[in-house]
Amino acid sequence: MTLTRPVKWLFGAFMTLGLAFIYVPLAVVVLNSFNASTTFAWPPTQLTLRWWQAAFANEGVRTALWTSVQLAALATLVALVLGTLAAMALTRYDFFGRDVVSLLFVLPIALPGIVTGIALNNVFTSYLGGLTFATLVIGHATFCIVVVINNAAARLRRTAPSLEEASMDLGATRARTFRLVTLPALRSALFAGGLLAFGLSFDEIIVTTFTAGPGVQTLPLWIFQNLFRPNQAPIVNAVAAFLVLVSIVPIYLANRLSGGAALAAQR
């Protein structure tokens, strides 16, 4: 389509505005974490690294960060195994009710987190004896499975089953075919899906609030609990800024390791 120059400029201006809208709040957080004033007077007059030091030295922050990493890793692991199995069933087989099954698998991310949260909370506390770290992992894995399925299924639809058939015609067992043919084809898609699942779990707070056992504190929970304590505000700022800067890592990883496949994948 040929657009006149002013029209192109108009779209360009809109894009610039859009990006400013996206990045100004993040910049404010990062800048504020260096703000020397304890009341966060705006604009900052003096900059300091004090809050960053305090945040890194904070026991609560470090424990919460470690809990979040463990939680995200476990949930991602469960999601990778179950998601790969489901994706293979949904793409390589035609069976009665397949559409319904795919719709059901989408539900955990298509329904608001508060629904998943309260439904699981109800079952765990009323029937299964209470909340622990394990219930939190179960809650997270449930919505992480979907992103793995989506990534793996998209890849499987694009890889012809003839490769797998050829492998088996040549005498490979199903297990060997999976290991040597299917899995290599899926690798980058599983990496992208796993990365998304990890990010989703690391960041989640609503399902977490409803399924975390007493004493289990993830990083988002820590931030939320300290948000309203004025004397903790500088540390919260530094942790928030840290999370903004850390969010560049997965994009970088995805670009390096899978040629941007994770970028095109949807959350």
């Binding site: 069933a89 508060i114 970028l263």
Partner: protein, 305 residues
């Protein structure tokens, strides 16, 4: 994979070695399609049913129970009391309506912002810049949800940057309230809309647009009659996220909503004191979203998720 190859006959004269049990199982699995399918689906489907669908069903059951106001214990007797309260008490009804209006507004705003951005990223910008622009739009998806809400809380606070900047123009800052909730939710879910729209616009063949132009369609007409139908499933896919995530949000509302409440806040406040009522409230977004999913199934949006 459905086709099965016949087992090769043993060469004449050589007695066939008796296959081991593993080999027998493999052969059987290879020939039996339903057994393979069952093996693949057993674990994920069991997980989905036991850990998601059963709790979801129990939520609907709990919604029909009540709480004894003296003992605070759940009374397991069928009653429609909770739903009657929600639909007859103006405060609750207003909260539900407010939530749906906010979620719909956020969805429309996201679409209105995502369309020109996605269009620029996929069609106007020079191809060299396109991957970078996409990365720029998607990076914030990875920044923590809570941090982004917190950023806006800082910006919109009475002495924050928004008040400052607007002060230069002699304007007063809007502060916390329903407007802030719509603004922040739009901010949070925008990438979920830009991504599918961008993907759909990138995949649309240039020839379609050219043909429309050759046939004399003006840009607006081309957009409305050619591009919009092509990217409609992507818009719907994006709207599932923007709408659903807005419907259930209570943390943004708590942080920037001032005194305003949405459905999620009512659920959150009630779940420890009156679980059946909280459950009844939480079933409303389920009904709305399942209805929405069924309604849009034909557009092909679900394949775009």
């Amino acid at each position: 994979m459905v086709a099965t190859s016949p087992a090769a006959p043993a060469p004449p004269g050589v007695p066939a070695p008796s296959p081991g049990p593993v080999r027998v199982a493999q052969t059987w699995l290879h020939r039996t399609v339903w057994a393979r399918l069952a093996a693949l689906l057993a674990l994920p489907l069991t997980w989905l049913v036991l850990i998601y669908l059963v709790p979801l069903a129990l939520l609907f059951v709990t919604a029909l129970w009540s709480t004894d106001s003296f003992t605070g214990l759940v009374v397991r007797e069928l009653t429609f009391e909770n739903y009657r309260d929600i639909f007859t008490e103006p405060a609750f009804l207003l909260t539900v309506l407010r939530t749906v209006v906010v979620a719909a507004t956020v969805t429309v705003l996201c679409a209105l912002i995502a369309l020109p951005m996605g269009f620029f990223m996929s069609r106007v910008a020079s191809p060299r810049w396109r991957p970078l622009l996409l990365a720029l739009v998607l990076t914030p998806l990875w920044a923590a949800y809570l941090v982004k809400v917190y950023a806006w809380r800082t910006i919109l606070s009475p002495s924050g940057p928004a008040a400052d900047v607007l002060g230069w123009f002699g304007l007063s800052a809007p502060g916390y309230g329903l407007g802030a909730v719509v603004l922040v939710l739009t901010y949070l879910w925008l990438p979920y809309m830009v991504l599918p729209v961008h993907t759909a616009l990138s995949a649309m063949p240039e020839s379609l647009v050219d043909a429309a132009a050759d046939l004399g369609a003006r840009p607006w007409r081309t957009f409305r009659d050619v591009m919009l139908p092509v990217i409609w499933p992507a818009l719907v896919a994006g709207s599932i996220f923007t709408f659903s995530l807005s419907l259930g949000d209570y943390i943004t509302v708590q942080l920037v909503g001032g005194t305003r409440q949405m459905l999620g806040n009512v659920v959150y406040q009630n779940f420890s004191v009156n679980l059946p009522f909280a459950a009844a409230m939480a079933t409303l977004p389920v009904v709305v979203m399942v209805g929405y999913l069924l309604a849009v199934r034909r557009t092909g949006a679900l394949e775009n998720l």
